[in-house]
Symmetry: C2
Subunit: 161 residues, 2 copies
């Protein structure tokens, strides 16, 4: 079982896979100065036949070390995960190498970050590290399956930092 270390989630490291949704960087002051708006942070893409939707996911918490062999991607749409808690969660992604995923990478959020997977990005399933594993998910609503799964020949073991 091949070990994978985790890395802190940063916008730069995550850029090939998607967007980090957090309250850093530029903002507009709104509501008479009482609120910072960090504007339009995600590259949303729901394809020609899809539309945006908000679903609520309630996932069981996992712990490190975490073993997996399955990843998935959504060929027809981006998928954003917004944690409804201040707990860090585990984010697993993999680069595409000619139609199949390469070596996975693992990130851990800082407790104040959401993410948006760009359309077609290979990723692991939702893996909160603390209960409740409650997330708002902004993804494509449509009539097609919009799901590709890939099982690696061997399992990976996310061991932490």
């Amino acid at each position: 079982m091949t070990p994978i270390k985790t890395h802190p989630l940063t916008a730069a490291a995550f850029a090939p896979f998607g967007d980090v949704l957090d309250a850093t960087g530029e903002f507009r002051l709104i509501n008479e100065g009482m609120c910072q708006r960090h504007h339009d942070r995600a590259a949303l893409d729901f394809g020609p036949a899809g539309r945006a939707g908000i679903s609520i996911f309630n996932a069981e918490a996992r712990a490190l070390p975490y073993e997996f062999s399955l990843v998935e991607r959504h060929p027809e749409g981006s998928q954003a995960f917004v944690p409804m808690s201040e707990h860090p969660f585990l984010v697993i992604v993999a680069p595409d190498e000619g139609g199949t995923p390469g070596t996975p990478r693992a990130f851990v959020t800082n407790g104040a970050q959401g993410i948006n997977f760009h359309r077609g990005t290979w990723h692991g399933v939702l893996t909160p590290l603390h209960a409740p594993g409650l997330f708002a998910v902004i993804d494509r609503i449509g009539t097609t399956a919009n799901l590709e799964e890939y099982r690696y020949a061997q399992a990976w073991r996310v061991i932490g930092a």
Copy 2:
């Protein structure tokens, strides 16, 4: 100053104004049984010329009693607020009465709820009751102002339950 009591946020009471985004009711089991998907919970509407976007709001926490005289609405789009914490927040809405807002109503969330204001719904500004006042906001991205404000002739005072 006219007092307003708060009520627990429920889908039934909030229905004239928008959607409650939470992990109640029907779901699909996904990710090999490890995750409940409460599917497509918000009536999103970004008008003919808008598109969906995700912005991050960082608002100052307020406390009860809370006084206000200003409400607003977005004529061209719905607006969803997903708390990135488990803290309750205050939701102020008002029915439309011929183009101006009527008597406001105040709700307090249970710490595991987001909301989606339907297009054109009068509402107060974002009012977290605890720091950090961090929210993901799914609303209309477009080139028009998409904002109407209304200041009541007298202030209202939200006093709690």
